[in-house]
Amino acid sequence: TQSSWTLSGLENIASMVVDAISAPPAGLTQDFNQEVLTGTTIMAVAFDGGVIIGADSRTSSGSYVANRVTDKLTQINDTIFCCRSGSAADTQAIADYVKYYLSMHAVELGEQPEVRTAASIFQQLCYNNRDNLMAGIICAGWDKVNGGSVYTIPLGGMCVKQPFSIGGSGSTYVYGFCDANYKEKMSREECERFVKHAIALAIARDGSSGGVIRMAIIDKSGVERKVTLGNEVPRFYEGN
């Protein structure tokens, strides 16, 4: 079932997305022309009745921490969010486009769109502009047809549905932890713990991740946002 807007029309506009690399930020390092990155840790886990998404809050420009309280969990519509990693400018621009296209689509459809659709729009933008973008996105949310879903759209623009997904530079440190600790059909509390612990471990090892842990729990009633401040972040082995 194709939606009413044509794919080719979308492609035309999408391919006009100009590389939105931001002007050099007022960072204090010698790397004045280093693009602002969300070298980061992002994560999304589907549970029975919704999804939980989480991210760290560090934006770095070279080694300078340009923003230590970034919000990398961006709302697309009432029950669909995306987690952004890669170039801050690119991902912000893409998320804005998807928000716009999805809201037009919702009007035409007459009901709330599926998460699948939002993920598909992300994919179109990321794939067709793959040479000019650096964006790793996890699109997650709740819709009434499929319940909670998680779609991951990494650098080249592929899109794949997963029960849970981790992304960003910090995710490499927690693949083992996540594989060992993920269980199907986790409860909401177990899921929250899983996400918080994984991001805490990644923050501890990845220089490009840090700050606070932001989480959003999305279910049919909407979104609940949570922040775990620096002193409350779980701590694990830290040497002697």
């Binding site: 390092t29 080694s63 230590r68 620096g230 972040v233 830290e238």
Partner: protein, 204 residues
């Protein structure tokens, strides 16, 4: 990718009234990855003299070992402890010897001389010495450290106040650096003793 920001470090030294303090972070990392959180970057060179080394970790260890050798030889020959200003010249010479293939490290020296006067100084990676009198900084977040020190420093602080000032300067500067942090250690040196404290900091 600069070689001086391959490992990452934050070192600061401040002078107070009849005391000096030197502090560093504890991270050992390889670019973005943190490998350990108990890496020593400040080395004692006598009872009232310490040197902190920022820069490439391998050179931090090599230079500290070479300095330890030179210090031991000095002690055997001179039969006394080295003065901080002499030590500064020793480091400066050691680094300039490698002028055209330098050690990628920037030392920070803090000590009390034989008259009880505080001494702090730093050099660049090829040995140019600098003795400002208030504070010296080195590492990947040196600009952040300069900002914090300029804001917080007042002259003639006692050991306790100096500890607070240097700790806040270091902690808040390293929070704005992705490559420094993961703990902090502070040494406060007075005529009689050295007090070492490990700070609880953000581990990110």
């Amino acid at each position: 990718m600069s070689i001086m920001s391959y490992n990452g470090a934050a070192i600061v030294a401040m002078a107070g009234k009849d005391c000096v303090a030197i502090a560093s972070d504890r991270r050992f990392g390889v670019q973005a990855q943190t490998v350990s959180m108990d890496f020593q970057k400040i080395f004692p060179m006598g009872e009232r003299l310490m040197v902190g080394l920022a820069g490439l970790a391998t050179d931090v260890q090599t230079v500290s070992e070479r300095l330890r050798f030179k210090m031991n030889m000095y002690k055997l020959r001179e039969e006394r402890d080295i003065e901080p200003v002499t030590f500064m010249h020793m480091i400066s010479n050691l680094l300039y010897e490698k002028r055209f293939g330098p050690y990628f490290c920037e030392p920070v020296i803090a000590g009390i001389d034989k008259h009880g006067k505080p001494f702090i100084s730093s050099t660049d990676l090829i040995g140019c010495p600098m003795t400002p009198g208030n504070f010296v900084v080195a590492g990947t977040c040196s600009e952040q450290l300069y900002g914090m020190c300029e804001a917080l420093y007042v002259p003639d602080l006692g050991p306790e106040d100096l500890f607070e000032t240097i700790s806040q300067s270091l902690l808040n500067a390293q929070d704005r650096d992705a490559l420094a942090g993961w703990g902090a250690v502070v040494h406060v040196i007075t005529k009689d003793q050295v007090i070492t404290r490990t700070l609880k900091s953000r581990m990110d």
